[in-house]
């Protein structure tokens, strides 16, 4: 499923039309950055991986089989795979730099640290879900998409999205319970 005008844009991008490539970047880079940031909680890393997503897109854009249904869903999948790779290769630093902790006014640094670590545990647990589960959980709860939007992006039915949502949350609960034991 492609939004209006997107097919023509992608067609031009296949020929490396600079205007089309620039438009794709402008249209999606911030969304992909936000997605990766929410998954990793690290702005520098999110920016690096966002750049990687678009380089991969460039490498694959000429292939007609690169995406089957949704181009943006395909971009999210690339981003998701990079995030998972990041966690799998153990590159993640569990010690979040102090300057990266968002300090709300009046909040005690110890509380902020605790919150930040809890969030990091949650992010790591999400990365341990199956690919389909973690994508649905992230798109639905972190990106705030509706079931219909998630279904369109992932190429699944809304029923499958609900099912993955349940299985993902159940697995996440198990993982968090283990973590907190």
């Amino acid at each position: 499923m492609q939004p209006n005008g997107e097919s023509a844009l992608l067609e031009r991008a296949r020929e490396y039309d600079p205007a089309a490539i620039a438009e794709i970047y402008d249209r999606y880079s911030l969304r992909i950055y936000n997605y990766i940031y929410h998954r990793l909680g690290n702005a520098h890393l999110a920016e690096d991986l966002t750049a990687s997503v678009f380089v991969r897109m460039l490498e694959a854009v000429r292939s007609s089989k690169a995406w089957r249904t949704s181009f943006s869903g395909w971009l999210y999948r690339i981003a998701h795979n990079l995030v998972v790779d990041h966690f799998r290769t153990g590159q993640q630093d569990r010690n979040v730099p102090l300057e990266d902790w968002p300090l709300a006014s009046g909040e005690h640094p110890a509380d902020v640290a605790e919150r930040s670590l809890t969030q990091q545990r949650l992010r790591m647990a999400i990365s341990q879900l199956t690919d389909a589960q973690s994508l649905v959980i992230t798109l639905k709860f972190i990106e705030g998409m509706s079931n219909a939007e998630v279904a369109a992006l992932t190429g699944k039915s809304q029923g499958a999205v609900k099912s993955l949502q349940f299985r993902g949350l159940a697995a996440l609960r198990r993982l968090m319970d283990e973590e907190e034991l």
Partner: protein, 581 residues
């Protein structure tokens, strides 16, 4: 809450209830209020909803403004521009007009060459020629620059001057290669120079660092000090990757009258020894320049003081006419209209190229055997491409969940799929037939599934019932029509026999069978009054089967107490989620 409502509630799919609650919370409803609507599900529902809210809280976090996205945009667009330029180059090299192809021109009569080049010089404005001076391979004006040089060479008759010009042009080609490398542009080019050093794959030729690979064709024995021509491709990381290195006489006479060799055989071609992969083409040999067109009609006109040194001049660009047939095999990496990339080499396709697709379709990923002619400009023109093997599908991630049907150290069958188990397979949980397993696997090129990660989800629904044994097996009994599975942890109290009444406690498996944790055999009414309360180990069960004495009052247990069916019974068949890309 009315009984009807509770009943409806039970009937609802839990997934739908969960989704409904999430939706209500999104609309401002409190978690507690939502859970209160489904009291019987509250225990399952509430923790999942709370967890969903925790995940949602990640969204509330302020996302720092990206600092480098704009800079990354510039890099990204530059990369795109280079790819576009490379794309256009390919198209251009495959559609060179005859009058631009100087090597083709050289094959025509000298008179025609002179005429054509003079026409070109007239046709091109001085401004265009000046503008082309700093162009590099891949630039639009680069062919103009090369053409201008060719004209310059053709119109230089003094041998000394010509030799100097040749050296100057060689140097210019090397400078261009360095400039292309330092600007990290993608282009194809060639230059000549002396081999300064060879260190494994790292060569220095005429002061230019060049890298070779397994695919580089090195013709003849090239040693340090040899004068060579290198055809290369620049990569986006600044590497100059040699595609072919061939020894080339630093200077040979373009003028047959200057050569000590009699010019009697027009079919004589330079005979550099080709590498084993290249054999002389059977194509028509290239005619050398006609001897009559040279300005010196007799060898005696050559100054005798410098019989060899001054008599040997060469235009820098045209490689001595040599077309070699190249055979190689490799994977098709890209297919464009008239240029394919096979095993890293660009291969031009024309109307005469035979493509044999008997063994598979010509597609990216397929293995192909190529017979091509290496043309004088270094490009490969395919004569024949034979597809040897159809597209090799790369390993595809494959995710599904299903019931474990069987398992061994090397192979499991889950949801009808046979999985290959290796030392690298991560297995979480203990497998049991009938348990649900979540599987992450890779579909290999032969279609088999290599298990990467298997999570065995143990059943949590406990059931208890009484019934009569209808059949007894090593691992399975049938009790009142229900399949009861036994494993090493199953405790059997009493001696079972077909017809015996038993009480079964166990876990309800997704396929409807019960994994027995404890089976208590009640004495047959007709049996001897001696109580059979001592635990008897089932001969068919594993030796580690735990046993314990039956508690008193076994017979007083409530009969046929079927625990509620699981609301969340996973699907009996597997559900698959192949992952893209």
């Amino acid at each position: 809450m009315s009984k009807d409502l509770i009943s409806n509630q039970k009937a609802r799919d839990f997934e739908a209830v969960l989704d409904e609650c999430l939706s209500q919370i999104d609309k401002g409803e409190s978690l507690e209020a939502c859970v209160a609507q489904y009291p019987t599900l509250a225990a399952q529902l509430e923790p999942l909803l709370r967890l969903a809210l925790r995940v949602k809280a990640l969204r509330q976090e302020q996302v720092p403004s990206p600092v480098t996205l704009q800079a990354a945009r510039q890099r990204f667009l530059r990369e795109a521009a280079q790819l576009r330029s490379a794309q256009l180059d390919k198209a251009r090299t495959s559609r060179v007009p005859w009058w631009v192809n100087l090597q083709a021109l050289m094959r025509k009569s000298m008179a025609a060459v002179v005429l054509a080049t003079l026409l070109l010089v007239v046709a091109l404005s001085a401004g265009t020629i000046a503008a082309s001076a700093n162009s590099l391979p891949g630039d639009a004006l680069y062919p103009v620059k090369r053409m201008t040089e060719e004209v310059q060479l053709l119109l230089t008759f003094d041998r000394q001057s010509k030799a100097q010009l040749v050296q100057k042009l060689d140097e210019r080609r090397r400078e261009e290669a360095k400039a292309i490398a330092s600007s990290q542009r993608i282009a194809e080019m060639s230059f000549r120079g002396r081999v300064d050093s060879v260190d494994g794959v790292h060569w220095t030729i005429g002061g230019v660092p060049v890298r070779t690979s397994a695919e580089t064709v090195i013709e003849e024995d090239v040693a340090v000090g040899a004068f060579v021509r290198v055809h290369l491709r620049s990569l986006s990381n600044g590497t100059l990757l040699a595609m072919r290195i061939s020894v080339e006489p630093e200077s040979v006479s373009p003028e047959p009258t200057a050569s000590p060799i009699p010019t009697t055989s027009p079919t004589t071609t330079p005979t550099a020894t080709p590498t084993p992969t290249e054999v002389p083409a059977t194509a028509a040999p290239i005619q050398p320049p006609a001897p009559t067109s040279t300005p010196s009609p007799t060898p005696t006109s050559t100054p005798s003081a410098t019989p060899s040194a001054t008599a040997t001049l060469i235009p820098p660009t045209p490689v001595p006419p040599r077309e070699v047939k190249v055979r190689f095999e490799g994977r098709i990496e890209a297919i464009a209209a008239d240029v394919w990339t096979i095993d890293g080499q660009l291969v031009r396709i024309d109307a005469n190229t035979r493509i044999d697709e008997q063994e598979g379709t010509a597609a990216v990923g397929a293995m192909a055997r190529v017979i091509a002619i290496r043309q004088q400009d270094g490009t490969l023109l395919a004569i024949e491409i034979t597809i040897e093997r159809a597209e090799q599908t790369p390993e595809q991630p494959f995710e599904f969940q299903g019931l474990i049907e069987s398992f061994s150290p090397t192979q499991w069958i889950v949801g009808g799929h046979t999985l290959i188990i290796t030392e690298d397979t991560l297995i979480e949980g203990t497998p049991h037939k009938g348990f649900l397993a979540e599987v992450k696997a890779l579909r290999q090129s032969d279609g088999s599934l290599l298990a990467v990660h298997i999570f065995v989800r143990p059943p949590t629904e406990e059931v208890q019932f009484e019934g009569v044994i209808q059949s007894l097996g090593a691992e399975e009994w049938i009790v009142d029509g229900v399949t009861v599975r036994l494993d090493a942890e199953t405790i059997v109290e009493g001696t079972p026999a077909v017809g015996s009444r038993v009480e079964v406690e166990g876990l309800l498996l997704p396929d409807g069978a019960v994994l027995a944790r404890r089976i208590m055999v009640q004495p047959l009414p007709t049996a001897t009054p001696a109580p059979m309360l001592e635990p008897t180990q089932m001969p068919t069960t594993a030796p580690t089967t735990a046993q314990r004495a039956a508690p008193p009052g076994v017979g007083q247990r409530p009969a046929l107490r079927q625990v509620q069916l699981p609301l969340l019974a996973p699907p009996v068949s597997s559900t698959e989620n192949p992952i893209v890309p």
